[in-house]
Symmetry: C2
Subunit: 363 residues, 2 copies
């Protein structure tokens, strides 16, 4: 039973004293070699080499319960030795499993480094899983459902990661309706039914206000994300709550959002700086608005860190270097990507979504 260490070419021969030629002959034909280069090994190659059937080899590699331990070991050895890698097209055709994760990104996400960091985080998580990452950016002008529908209709991935989520995100709804695995960067209003990773923008805004308060600032503005994004509400809530708590005065620039053209942000802030009731602290929903605001403030003859304090959030170290006078709260997109990829894979494997939701609380 235990014949470890012994080299067995064909373990059937033993019990067959009068074995005829048929028995010794491999049950599978040798794979045809094309030109001169060695062709890529398949199950057939291994079957031929081990003298086993293709089915057995397949089951052995997949650790099926009805294959002998010795056989498994032997098959694995040969497979490793010749560098066997399952043919993805074969698996996909047979099982429908693509081993692909689709990352769908809005083009607006050029928020310095979001794309890069997300891709990195996701790749990191996927590295040893056999999953490939396919990235699809989409135009904000086009229907955001398009790329999602494409993936579902062509069955070109096992799961989707979405960003820029809305409270009632039709893309997420579409996917949930069809039972298609999805993980989102940002919460939706749909409850514990899909995995997500969200930065706690409420806490971010609260901390921002606290910081400004601690620096003695009293008249504070917020450049929020457009109200179409769910996280806009969170940020505003954190802001308002903290403002009330410290009894500070909000200088409203609610018409302005971080998605406005930088020119608009610039001129609006510059105008504000010249007004009698200018703020002495601004919380900026993203980096580009913060950097733009900084320039506008200086254009107005004021100094960031002296006359006005700025708070924002970001992932990249660079910003602290470029504008050390801006308070930066860390938001880690890479961590987000990493978490989402892992969560999505677990979802595909059947795990329930409730345990795969993460709120990243800053500080």
């Amino acid at each position: 039973m235990c014949n470890a260490g012994r080299i067995i070419v064909n373990n059937k021969a033993e019990s067959m004293a009068m074995a005829d030629d048929e028995t010794r002959a491999p049950r599978v034909d040798a794979p045809v070699l094309d030109g001169h280069r060695p062709t890529r090994p398949t199950l057939k190659t291994i079957a031929y080499m081990t003298g086993l059937g293709i089915t057995t080899v397949s089951r052995a590699l997949n650790d099926a319960p009805d294959i002998g331990a010795d056989t498994k070991k032997r098959v694995r050895l040969v497979a490793d030795q010749i560098g066997y890698r399952p043919n993805r097209a074969g698996v996909r055709l047979r099982t429908g499993k693509t081993n692909v994760i689709s990352l769908i990104l809005s083009l607006d996400e050029e928020i310095l480094g979001l794309t890069t960091q997300m891709v990195l985080g996701v790749s990191e998580a996927l590295a040893d899983t056999g999953y490939h990452l396919i990235v699809t950016p989409y135009d904000r002008i086009k229907d955001p459902l398009d790329p999602v529908r494409y993936v579902v209709e062509t069955e070109s991935a096992d799961g989707i990661i979405l960003s820029s989520t809305r409270e009632n995100d039709p893309r997420v709804q579409y996917l949930l309706d069809r039972g298609f695995p999805v993980a989102t960067h940002g919460r939706t209003g749909l409850g514990p039914v899909h995995p997500y990773f969200d930065f706690d923008n409420e806490t971010f805004a609260r901390i921002g206000v606290e910081q400004l308060h601690a620096r003695g600032r009293t008249r504070i503005s917020l450049i929020a994300p457009p109200s179409t994004y769910f996280y806009s509400q969170h940020m505003i809530k954190g802001f308002v709550d903290a403002m009330e708590k410290f009894e500070l005065l909000e200088i409203p620039i609610r018409s302005l959002t971080i998605d406005d053209p930088l020119d608009t942000i610039h001129s609006e802030i510059e105008r504000l700086m010249h007004s009698k009731h200018r703020p002495d602290g601004i919380i900026c929903g993203n980096v580009s608005s913060a950097l733009t605001a900084a320039v506008a403030i200086e254009n107005a003859g004021l100094k960031v860190g002296v006359d006005v304090d700025l708070v924002t959030k970001h992932s990249a170290e660079l910003i602290r270097r470029v504008r050390p006078e801006i308070f930066v709260i860390n938001e880690d997109f890479r961590k987000a990507g990493n978490f989402l990829a892992r969560a999505l894979i677990e979802t595909i494997a059947g795990k329930s979504a409730a345990e795969l939701q993460f709120l990243d609380v800053p500080e």
Copy 2:
């Protein structure tokens, strides 16, 4: 011969006066329906609906020469109507064509937005081609050949786009040896054998020097890329040539490269600013070094744009806004990605590389 406008269910029936039931019966069984949801259409579905053979449908959709024009039209109509999309796994298994482009990026490319812009450009070019984009970042610590080998060995893409190319890039050599389509961001020293898109860093440096000269600067430094990158040579050549032409004095900081940690760059520049022979102009090989240098200069009590001028190159608009006093020459990564994707597809289609090389000359 011409029966346009007439609806033909089975064009065979016409010539068969005494057609028995066999003739009218479709030659292909109806595709089995699983649950309640309509199953995804395949060639078989169309064959059943049109009464044609599977082969005919396939050939009709692929515009084969031996299929009648009417049939083609009819098949296409049905296919479009029911939203047929070829099964990628089927095609891939049969033909070996993956319809995938692999973009392999070095992690260091966090150069603000390079990844994002490249991905965008590539996606843009791939949008209507049926190609998918799979992105693989890799660690600079690991063997850069790893991801390349993986793609080749598992045949998981039809072509590869590489960045951070070296003069004698082993990855490119590896791919060329195996006849695997590759396009590179940046030239190599291998000649007109593979497509590339390169930014003309020689011209960039020359223009930089000219700009500084025009502003009356005479003592100039260059923060170059590490000499391992081929484009480092180009940049240095452009720099040196122009310096000689205008008889300017180089203040060498050759030990410093754009890949050094930002802390190093910062302290080195600050130190330099305090030295007796400080430069009054610096050309920075990338944005992060330029931004870092700007802060260092101010830390030393000097003013960018007044005491020292900075020149750099970049893709994103943001930088001009954050630091309007820095000269920025435009390097369009998106264009690069777009070109490379197109070039790669043409290479896969068999076009010769010589026509697919592009040098992007600034200004």
